[in-house]
């Protein structure tokens, strides 16, 4: 059997391969040779074969069949074998293979070997990849070696102990005695690894930490060592660019950090040395800056005196001006950590930080952006925003989304004026409109709604932006919503903040229709546009044009648009009397938590449909809350209507359909299905059990349940008649009959009702909104009440109507329900 080829020979051969296939062929051939050699139990060349195997493993080829061979090599007496064997073990074996435990005995023997380099190999292997079982078995040996006077072995034993503690934390205690005089060593290797060991122990166990602070007086020892390092002259063995053993210095600083954190005495003991290191360290090379960096981190973490903290922040400030990118990066990262605690000190470097926004390096730009946002406050908002908006204009796409969100958040917190806020939003939408997050659209809409005096200005600016560019969907969506809502302000030229533009109704409708047909518009945007057009039917005079548009889209291929158009059409045709009420101005939305509409996002579980959903005010989703409010005797005068007969809810039901189309969303209890729509297209399922068509007019007195008068005031009388809905006995169907005994009609009559939390209420559409004079007719409306807990029915009602030219509003409680209606 010829001797297997040498390692370097193999490497040379493989490198001549010109293709991947050629390489694979060579490797396979060699692997076969190696395998047969292994089978022959060849001791002489095992080492060579395993070495070759390790090379092939590095190229990415499987080498698991060499695992046992590594173990045989480790057990060999030859040092060469052991060296390769241990290397192979570290590369091919780990705790996931059962085979690895076979190593334990070999390692144990080698830990007691007469040659320190063999002991070293064993310690190294154990310290790199020893499993918990191995660590448990061999911890005693390691502990023994930790006490040896041989510094070569001692330093390795220390790091091995660190690994053992990481794997089996319970064993920490057994190493404690051995640490007693570790720090009195002169050898830097031992010193360094000892500091690492002590650090590991202190980090893992607060008891150990306390012990080392008090009993061992660790801080003074470390301070002494550090002082010697700084003060001692040139030591060729440990010198790096004029600094003596920077690795050890940094490690000591880190341990000092842990010891000083939260402890006044320790922190005080190290103040001097920290100041010394901070001022004396040479900063021309990376080494010095590495030490300064660690010093700064330590100063910021311990209870240092304020002078020292200012010194630290100034060092970071100097770092920011350094030519070296790495140092600037590190400074920005550290400042980000300290900006919460030392805000004012960091503020002083704000201009430098802002300059870093213009850096070419991507990592630096990101850090600078994060830090800039952290520094924004009420005083510097205008200046900072200017810089940040400029950054938003010119930055890479990967930053735009985060930057836009940051700008919105900062603007919300610190906006000096509403106008400035709206302007800022406009700027973001026009420059980074496509990168803005989905949930910003409803947030912005809410913000705009709440800035009542800015409506005219906002809609004007948005309109002008639309004329320029309709490609950025979030901008287009917000703009169409606003135009739909405030279109009347737009054409009437009421803007106070800037020069009002002359816009005709046709021009506005041109723009909106343009959105509908444009290829750039997403389906969601088209939905917004169509709804906006519809809303304008009550704000503009050119209703015919709107009617035409709406009817065209009744046959749109897009099912969402089609549904909307059909429903709007129905609104024109059959329910025209309700149209003004439905499409009236949105009430001010209340903010729940930080951003109300996003709650809708969460409950619906998907961003896209909720963009459609979320533009509707919380009342849509919290009918029972409003019911509670109305029943609150102390504060029942909310403007917010209870049940959505007057709030435009059509898109909500359309939103509901959209969710159904998508199919895989579960609608959680409250939101989407709940809205009671005035157009009886979609009804919440539970109220419809067994019924196919909802009864609109139900004058039939409920069998056995007597009618009652709920309200009788100022000539307006409202009677309730009852019926049980089949088959669900928990539902009471109440029909109200409103009659007017005065000599004038009551027009724009709207009836609203609220019930306690345990009930659910649904109001169907009224027969009309004019209660004719002198009892010539009645307005009827059906209420369905779900009463699963069979509690006593109570109701609060709100009536609004116009009588003899003046608006009348009244609230009343209805408590005299006959027991049969709810039992």
């Amino acid at each position: 059997m010829p001797a297997p080829i040498r390692l370097r020979e193999l490497i040379r051969t493989i490198r001549t391969a010109r293709t991947q296939a050629e390489e694979r062929e060579m490797i396979q051939k060699e692997c076969a040779a190696i395998r047969s050699s292994f089978r022959e139990e060849d001791n002489t060349y095992r080492c060579r074969n395993v070495a070759k195997l390790l090379y092939m493993h590095m190229l990415g080829y499987p080498a698991h069949f060499g695992q046992l061979e590594c173990l045989k090599l480790i057990a060999s007496q030859k040092f060469t074998d052991k060296r390769i064997g241990y290397l192979g073990a570290m590369l091919l074996l780990d705790e996931r293979q059962d085979v690895h435990l076979l190593m334990t005995n070999c390692i144990k023997n080698d830990l007691n070997h007469s040659t320190q380099y063999v002991q070293g190999l064993a310690l190294c292997t154990l310290g790199c990849m020893g499993s918990s079982e191995m660590c448990r078995d061999l911890a005693g040996e390691v502990e023994k070696l930790l006490k040896t006077s041989n510094s070569y072995l001692r330093k390795k034993a220390a790091l091995c102990a660190v690994h053992v503690i990481r794997k089996v934390p319970e064993l920490m205690e057994m190493f404690l005695p051995a640490t007693k005089n570790l720090l009195s060593e002169k050898n830097h290797g031992v010193l360094h690894t000892s500091v690492v060991l002590l650090t590991e122990m202190c980090e893992r166990s607060p008891d150990m930490l306390a012990h080392f602070r008090k009993n061992e007086k660790l801080v003074p020892q470390l301070v002494r060592i550090l002082k010697n390092l700084i003060m001692s002259g040139y030591s060729p063995e440990h010198d790096v660019s004029g600094i003596s053993d920077p690795f050890l210095q940094v490690r000591i600083l880190r341990l000092l950090r842990i010891l000083g954190k939260g402890d006044d005495d320790s922190s005080e003991a190290m103040n001097d040395i920290l100041a010394q290191v901070a001022t004396n360290t040479e900063t021309s090379k990376n080494v010095g800056n590495a030490i300064l960096y660690e010093t700064v981190l330590t100063i910021m973490d311990i209870k240092s005196e304020s002078g020292l903290r200012v010194l630290a922040i100034n060092i970071l400030g100097r770092f920011l001006l350094n030519n070296d990118k790495n140092i600037r990066y590190v400074a920005l990262t550290s400042l980000l950590k300290t900006v919460q605690t030392d805000h004012n000190a960091v503020q002083r470097h704000r201009s430098t930080i802002v300059d870093c926004l213009k850096d070419l390096d991507v990592s630096i730009k990101r850090r600078a952006m994060e830090l800039s946002f952290a520094l924004v406050n009420g005083n510097n908002i205008r200046g900072m925003m200017k810089e940040l908006l400029y950054f938003l204009d010119s930055c890479d796409p990967e930053f735009k989304a985060d930057c836009a969100s940051g700008v919105f958040l900062a603007a919300e917190k610190y906006a000096p004026s509403k106008r400035w806020h709206i302007d800022t939003i406009m700027r973001v939408l026009t420059t980074a409109g496509s990168y803005v997050r989905d949930d910003s659209v409803p947030n912005l809409i809410q913000l705009i709604t709440n800035s009542v005096e800015m409506h005219a200005y906002t809609v004007q600016r948005l309109y002008k932006a639309l004329l320029d560019d309709i490609s950025q969907q979030p901008l287009v969506q917000v703009a169409s919503w606003c135009i739909g809502e405030y279109g009347d302000l737009l054409v009437s030229g009421q803007c106070e903040e800037e020069e009002p533009i002359q816009v005709t109704e046709d021009e506005v409708l041109d723009v909106l229709e343009g959105l509908l047909v444009s290829n750039l518009s997403t389906p969601v945007t088209r939905g917004y546009a169509l709804t906006a057009i519809m809303k304008l039917s009550t704000r503009f005079t050119s209703v015919n044009r709107i009617k035409k548009v709406v009817s065209i889209y009744g046959s749109s291929i897009d099912v969402e648009l089609q549904q909307r158009a059909v429903e709007y059409n129905a609104l024109f045709k059959k329910y025209d009397h309700m149209r003004p009420a439905l499409l009236e101005r949105m009430p001010i939305m209340e903010k729940t938590a930080s951003n109300g509409p996003t709650e809708i996002v969460q409950t619906n579980g998907e961003a896209e449909p909720s963009v459609v959903e979320a533009k509707h005010p919380p009342p849509v989703t919290q009918p029972t809350n409003q019911a509670n409010d109305l029943l609150d005797l102390l504060g029942g005068n909310d403007v917010v209507p209870v049940i959505q007969t007057t709030v435009p809810t059509k898109p909500a039901s359309a939103g509901g359909e959209l969710l159904d189309l998508l199919g895989d969303l579960s609608l959680s209890g409250g939101p989407a299905p709940a809205p009671a729509t005035s157009v009886p297209s979609s009804q919440p399922a539970f109220l419809l059990d067994g019924l196919t068509s909802p009864p609109l007019f139900n004058d039939i007195a409920a069998a056995g349940i007597p009618p009652m008068t709920a309200y009788n005031k100022n000539g307006l009388k409202i009677d309730f008649t009852f019926e049980r809905a089949n088959p669900n006995p928990n539902i009471a169907v109440i029909t109200i009959h409103a009659s007017n005994s005065t000599e004038a009609d009551m027009t724009d009559f709207v009836f609203q009702a609220a019930v306690p939390k345990t009930f659910q209420l649904q109001l169907l559409s009224p027969s009309s909104n004019v209660v004719p004079t002198l009892n010539q007719g009645t307005v009827t409306q059906v209420i369905r009440v779900l009463n699963p807990q069979k509690q006593q029915l109570r109701m609060r009602i709100k009536l609004t109507y116009t009588h003899k030219g003046s608006a009348v509003q009244d609230l009343a409680e209805v408590n005299n329900f006959p027991p049969q209606s709810w039992q």
Partner: protein, 154 residues
Amino acid sequence: MMRFMLLFSRQGKLRLQKWFTSMSEREKKKIIRDMTTMVLARQPRSCNFMQWKDLKIVYKRYASLYFCLGVESQENELLALEIIHRYVELLDKYFGNVCELDIIFNFEKAYFILDEFLMGGEIQETSKQIVNRSIEASDMLQETLEEYMSKPAF
């Protein structure tokens, strides 16, 4: 602690892989792929630090080789650069003007040197001379099949 050290060429060929924690082969392969992609994509004059998952990646290019160190978030990045530099110096001293070919043909030696410098993700010895002396002494112990020490052992 350091989690891993990788050396790879400009073409993405792996020259050395040292793992300081236990990981499956699959995870290791994924990390190697991610690191080579990320590092090779960096602009020439960018800073040497990146964020990857919860680790800081410190990399430096020496001639045709990239040295890539994955460290935990509390580690000092500037010092990590020094660690890389120290390792290169050790290799340089041992091989005499080290180049990529030296590391390719003597990868096991590169590992031995690394194992005298680092252990378990921490620095073991801060003195260049001591590391070099240990390696030389270990080399002397190697039984060779040839008569002359200078010939490669295998």
